[in-house]
Amino acid sequence: MINKIIFNLIQVIVVMAFAPLIKGILARLKENVQSKRGPSIFQPYRDIWKLFHKDEVVSDYCSWIFRLTPFVVFITPIFVALLIPVLTDYPLFFAFMGDMLGGGFILALGGFFATLAAIDTGNPYGPMGASRTRMVGFLAEPVFMIVFFTVSFIAGSTIPYIVQQHWVRPLANFFEPAHILMLLAFLMLILAETGKIPVDNPSGHFELAMIDESKGLEYSGRGAALMKWGGSMKFFVLCCIFLNVLVAPWGLAHGTALVDVLIAVPLILIKIFIFLLVLVIIESSLAKLRLFRITEFLGAAFVTSVAAMIIGLFFL
């Protein structure tokens, strides 16, 4: 019992410690593809460190929501990290506190507060980015629902630890049409939700074209650091859900000894690194869509998930 609590906390620490690294590696790889040297992969750590030591400026016109939001954005991925398999392929202490839908709601809570805070300050760019994020969000929501419900229906459970075992026992399940189509749909969702290139340009500095970034423009100092860190943790958590729950539980610790769990850490990082390579290929080979073409992109994701649902349900 005490073991499982410790492992659960190790999961949270891994998410907190390595999330900026993943972001740094992604930025570095993208620059390398464009034959530039790029910033160090540890740059996000330095940014966060620097921001923690700066003064915070808060607008006189904003309410308590603006001050609370960085903490909500920072804490929600940590809660999700307690629920999902990051390192082990057996349920840990908090695993049954909430299922995948619960995790989705907790992540959505962070997004909700970020939207409110963006509107709160009265900066014109904040509400614009917030309303765009909501547009992407409400188009992405039905896809999320269908993916989760179909996955849970096929695997017979909504607890991620049970779902992930379904895809590899027996191994032929990995090739289930519902599984592969769902992976496609969820990959498109990750691109949309984390503001990657066909939907949003994460490295753009032009406020009028921003979707995701403009929500954090008003933050400075500690607030900005927490927002950045929280954002990268959200990406890490989504990667873990995608790779460990939906793709396959390969590389996760099976044994209950501390050594097994510690060995799983580099394995997971390698897995995420491979996923980042795929992401870099996608981001470097596609152009950003115009705002009103995003509906087409997410419509394609929706139809993919519906096809997965139909084939999955009738195939059983």
Binding site: P170, A172, P177, A178, E296, G299, A300, F302, V303, F315
Partner: protein, 228 residues
Amino acid sequence: MNESELLFSLLTKLNALTGGLFLLCAFGLVAIRQMLTCLRLYIFQSLLLAVSAVLLGYHYASIHLFVVAALTIITKVFLIPWVLRQSVGYDSFSKREISQALNIPTTLLLSAAITIFAYYLAGPLLTAAGAGIFEKVNLPIGMASLLIGAYTVTVRGEAVPQLLGILAMENGAFFAGISIAPSLPLIAELAAAFYVLITVLVIGLLAMRIHTIIAKTAVGKLIALKEE
């Protein structure tokens, strides 16, 4: 689970996966703007048809289906794209199409509805025939692809995507056919393959004529007849 059962389950799942991707290609043919991408999707869809034929041929130990796969690859992956490029000309392909009767999200949602309708149609047929697991995948997906192909022809305003819609209908019919009639006489398949080739040639030449006369292939705009 012994080895043959495992192989069977792997075969069925691979076939179902092929079916899923086949359906996605049909969706893509309705919704994607670039004509060159549409043509590539059609080639990919034909490849998937060949893969499904090989999987079914392996299961039924039927030489016919392997021949179908070979014919599909020769005609649909190599000959048809070549004939189409020769007859229509490259500059029609390099364009982006914008004339579409409905906008793209609506089109996609309607095609999803068509898919559900195809399953609804195929359901009673499958239960009445006591179908096996391959028919359960191939028949509804083939029917869906057929209906979506017909829908493509109605909704798109350009000659080449309309032609690809007709070809997708044919692909869908074959996809359903290889599962419900795995031992169809070879002559029928040969005839179908040549039939499709001639169709492509004729429609391609027609599209080229339209292109040379009015400098575009947006047949959706050709509502009023005009005498010279």
